[in-house]
Symmetry: C2
């Protein structure tokens, strides 16, 4: 294997990749993003085939990274200095491999039974965790409001651990419209709703979850068919938005599993 070895920050490819790493608008304009690490890259390849470009760093690499570079020797590869590589990576301890890929687009099912809508989630790690929970709980599609952080940023991808590759995601959606058009119950999670555990979640269900600090907008609460809450028995009265999402989504899995078992 011979890599193109780039050591200048003035290199135009480096500058372009840096823009992609840092800038939502650039990612959207080009429909491209960067994947960080062996795990994400393998998940991508499994679903969509080879990346457009591999990016690696000078110096020692792990056995895992070396093996993957060898396996993907047909893919154009560049090598940057350690410091330049670190500038492109979303993590404090870079994994040693990045890949440039097209942002995939999975078709939203025409009639989804289990949907998640997220309003104005700010933290990319939180958003990634929510998408990961959604993919694990069997959500069929996710809608993100205009004010949500980019689902395809390196940090959100890292939090999602591959969820973005299996989950149809519509960004910049008008959630009030989506709520009104949904053919089932739409449950707005607030601190003043009916107990989640009293709801029949086996019917077609959309959970509507709000911003980490501000909660859901009045417009969305009004558009939803009902408000639900997670009963809290402790001295703290709210959950991290990603934790609350996991509890809601998995309560549906639990009810489904219980009804399949024919008992509860």
């Amino acid at each position: 294997m011979t890599f193109k070895h780039i050591t200048s920050r003035d290199n135009s490819l480096f500058k372009q990749l840096k823009k992609l790493a840092d800038n939502t608008r650039e990612r959207r304009k080009n429909n491209e993003t960067l994947l960080d690490g062996v795990h994400l890259l393998q998940a991508y390849i499994e679903h969509f085939g080879l990346p457009k470009l591999l990016i690696t760093a000078e110096g020692e690499s792990t056995y895992e990274v070396g093996a993957l570079l060898q396996e993907l020797s047909d893919v154009p590869t560049v090598m940057f200095t350690t410091l330049m590589f670190a500038e492109l990576s979303p993590v404090a301890t870079p994994t040693g491999i990045l890949a440039l890929v097209d942002i995939p687009s999975l078709p939203m099912p025409e009639q989804a039974d289990f949907v998640l809508m997220l309003e104005d989630i700010q933290d990319p790690g939180n958003l990634g965790s929510m998408l990961r929970s959604a993919a694990a709980a069997g959500v069929e599609g996710v809608y993100l409001s205009m004010g949500c952080t980019d689902a395809w940023s390196p940090k959100a991808l890292r939090g999602g651990q591959g969820a973005q590759f299996v989950l149809p995601i519509v960004e910049r959606a008008d959630l009030v419209e989506v709520t009104q058009a949904f053919g089932g119950q739409t449950l707005a999670t607030t601190l003043a709703g009916t107990s989640l555990y009293g709801m029949d979640l086996q019917q077609p269900t959309a959970f509507v979850i709000g911003n980490e600090g501000a909660g859901l907008s009045e417009a969305l609460i009004t558009a939803a068919s009902q408000q639900v809450s997670i009963p809290m028995i402790g001295q703290v009265e709210s959950l991290n938005a990603a934790a609350a999402t996991a509890v809601c989504l998995f309560e549906r899995s639990r009810q489904k599993a219980a009804s399949t078992r024919g008992s509860d």
Copy 2:
């Protein structure tokens, strides 16, 4: 109100506070930490009284911060330059108020019915979210392994949103010993256990949860009475550790609530 106004990074108080902000060992040595923002500070005051020192920044402050400074005018207060203040704050958009406090210590109940043990959690935001979920779900005590990130770091405090002020927490615990000594079932969460939903969680229960990447150590899995898993029906087979913790802890709340209702 007149504040001591400090503009030099060489100021010894600034240097000491910077050490506390950045350094676990320093926090442990002095048994002090920094709280960031009005919400955390109010929660602290509610439980433990006044902070030792207030820290604010030059320039505009929010109405909330101004009102709190006025209310706490008996507490010594210093004002730093905006840049110096930002160096002490764990967040990208500083809130405008920090407080120096003693790290509180809440007594662990002698016989706890609901316990959480966390092994080697690395991410302070994740740890904070787990503590917040624990406090909301009625956990009575939390044990953290030697390898866990500091529960009293500014980032973990921010993630906990006050959970650290209501939850007895033992840091640097020998979790194998704690598991063996616990007077109830100890459930190790893994990807290869019995379904969480089939467990009777109304008896005294400790959940044992592992590292974000590596999962639980063999020693702890062996020490626990049983392995449990959250059944996943989607295409992604694991959850963020904080999301998994929330699902496990709230399944116990659900079972308790269901038995109180006398149905399910």
